[in-house]
Amino acid sequence: MRFWILLQRDVLVAWRKKSNIYQPLVFQLLIVTMFPLGLGAGAQTLQKIAPAVVWILALISTLITLENIFKDDYEDGSLALYVLSGMSLPLAVLGKAAAHWLTTGLPVILFAPVIAVLLHLPSTAYGVLMLSLLIATPIFSLLGTVGSALIMNIKNGGMLLSVLIMPLLAPVLIFGAGAVLETTLGNNPSGHLSLLAGCFVLSLSLAPLAAAAAIKVNLE
């Protein structure tokens, strides 16, 4: 099936250029170092902001990678080939999103405990942290395809991409960081997680359509 071929190709391309995979993680490590330097190294202060910081770092480090989802394909013309090949464009978008998630979202989830340790997040919250990121990182990738499709032929579109995507990600951040926060406070995070899952289902069903529409307008 073409979906799998596209997915394989994209993962392979990302794997060949490994900096794509580890750069977001290095970026997270760099930024997380800034927090103790700026706030003072007191464990209690860090612990308080830890749920938010871990989450915002995951979000921002994904955000900086979104610009390139379609850019290379647009520039070397392969995007036009996807459209001409007659394969369903939303399905192609889904393939791109899946590949982006495998190469960016998955490493971010696996790396999250490292950031959490550095910020003294209570160990009881690790499971919920990774679970919330597991639900939310696909949303980043899916909405990312929309943003990336909108700005793929603009020079330096990264800032515009952030402006376009940030408002859409606000609910995801509220529910995701909220789930982790509730866990550290000893409450049940399942309400937040369910709403997060709702956001995932909604973006899974609508984002490929929106991205496909943007690609069509851009290639006209």
Partner: protein
């Protein structure tokens, strides 16, 4: 009305009456609100900023609705007039949103003791401002091709319209210090009961609507002239003027 030349011709007759109506209503509403409405029993005279704040807040949401609807029309039927209405509305809506935030901050300082508090309504109003900036940003990024720019901006507006309720309800999770809605049609316990306070508020709401119509049509007309500058009707129009 659907074609740019007849839109341009017909709305030409509307501009002046709309402006006069907006100005008259605004002067009446402001004088009535600032001098004749009774002071509030809790907030004294400082509540009077409401006569600017609340109509501006209504307009900030109303105009986004207009942008979303005209965005759908522009995207599905590729109507040039809908594109013009959408892009003409965006800066006005963004300004009303900024005005809402600004007057809200000025009101918040004496009432809550702080200019800014991350409560639900302020935050969602701020996010609304980002949505406006997004629509205008994507349009200006494609300034070499206005039609493509307008279609992509329409797409951004539609995505924003779908997300607006989600953003709104997710943001309401925080406990709020914002006072309840000023007017409740269902006759709740909170809200304004006094007619002499309600009157200037409604007049101001009408005034901002007419001002928006005037300003939007003015902008939409210039937008059509600019994007259609090589068409014969524009050239004829310019020669006539």
């Amino acid at each position: 009305m659907g074609s740019p030349p007849s839109f341009y011709r017909i709305t030409g007759y509307w501009l002046k009456p709309l402006l006069i109506l907006a100005m008259l209503l605004m002067v009446y509403g402001l004088v009535d609100g600032l001098f004749f409405a009774p002071p509030d029993y809790q907030q004294g005279d400082s509540y009077r900023i409401m006569f600017v704040h609340v109509p501006a807040a209504w307009m900030s949401m109303f105009i986004y609705g207009i942008i979303g609807v005209s965005g759908i029309i522009a995207f599905v039927w590729r109507m040039k007039v809908a594109e013009a209405v959408m892009m003409a509305s965006a800066p006005i809506g963004a300004l009303f949103t900024a005005l809402t935030l600004l007057t809200g901050m000025l009101w918040g300082k004496p009432m809550w003791g702080t200019y800014w508090d991350w409560d639900a309504r302020m935050t969602s109003e701020l996010i609304l401002l980002f949505l406006y900036i997004g629509v205008m940003g994507i349009y200006s990024a494609y300034d070499d091709d206005p039609r493509k720019a307008a279609r992509l901006a329409a797409l951004v507006a539609i995505i924003g319209l779908v997300n607006l309720p989600i953003i709104r309800y997710s943001v309401v999770w925080w406990t709020s210090i914002h006072q309840g809605a000023s007017i409740s049609l269902m006759g709740g316990n909170s809200g304004i009961k006094e007619w002499s306070m309600l009157r200037p508020l409604l007049v101001m709401a009408l005034a901002t609507k007419f001002y928006y119509l005037y300003s939007m049509l003015h902008r939409a007309r210039s937008y059509l002239l600019r994007t259609e500058q090589n068409k014969s009707w524009v050239i004829k129009q310019v020669i006539e003027d």
